[in-house]
Symmetry: C2
Subunit: 135 residues, 2 copies
DNA sequence: TTAATAACCTACTAAGCCGATAGGTTTATA
DNA sequence: TATAAACCTATCGGCTTAGTAGGTTATTAA
């Protein structure tokens, strides 16, 4: 299950991608139109800015704006930044790999093999999709 | 991410499926050979019995055994019992559907559409696999 | 009939995460 | 100089996870 943080983050990015002009949009406006707690969204947008997806402008008329072309933003990278691993087990994660304590040998582990297949099929869908497809 | 409960549960089922005879296997033995905390595993196996995957026999020589043919046990049903929803959002879950508080209209929600595709591709993999494939 | 065995059941807990909320600081604009 | 909006830090209640502890019931073997 995706956390609300991730869901809200994606919605916010899609909201920005829908806009034709690149003028900054305030947190409060996104929060209002997407029904998200403003303060919670604030922390998410900050996160997205620090991760290089968004730029920010302070003061009146300020807000957040997309830095890159929505077509260039894969959903895999968005989800990895907001949620963390896409895989269902740490031992099959490409970007957040961790060995299982209990498993002596990954190559013979039946669960491992299965989850690799799940991971790959999920990755196929998500890597083909960009922010532009959501907007 | 799958919980350890789910991972352990699948491993335990696979352990039983690997065996040629259908004689009961004790919790302690499975725990030992799969490196799982015995007491924790106990609660998982109980769960799997109550869900109709396992039968149990008490007393000496007792233990748990598979009720059905491993070929007949889809991984989707196993995961749903142990973990709950397979979908990444409640609003795209087939078996555990819940409406999103924040979303006024699912049909126009960009995240919703994306997660349906992820769900379907995951479901395709998992529904084709049975316990027999893991053993 | 008794002892041993193993499932069954109930309750508890420490730790961590999630989804916020509160309140103050900095920077840019009018 | 006042206002606006991002930025930052800290905190919190509630929930889930991954167990642990300890006793009860049913079955088997001596």
């Amino acid at each position: 299950m995706l956390s609300k943080k991730t869901k809200y983050g994606i919605k916010a990015l899609a909201h920005l991608a829908k806009r034709t002009d690149k003028s900054p949009v305030q947190t409060a406006e996104i929060a209002r139109s997407e029904n998200i707690s403003p303060k919670f969204l604030e922390s998410i947008l900050l996160n997205l800015r620090k991760s290089g997806f968004l730029g920010a402008k302070k003061g009146k008329g300020g807000g957040y704006y997309l830095i890159k072309d929505p077509k260039e933003i894969q959903m895999t990278t968005v989800i990895r930044v907001l949620e963390g691993p896409i895989a269902m087990l740490p031992c099959v994660s490409l970007n957040y790999y961790e060995k299982c304590e209990d498993c002596p040998d990954e190559l013979t582990c039946s669960v491992h093999k299965l989850m690799i297949q799940v991971r790959d099929s999920t990755l196929k869908v998500l890597s083909e999709k960009t922010l532009a497809d959501l907007a």
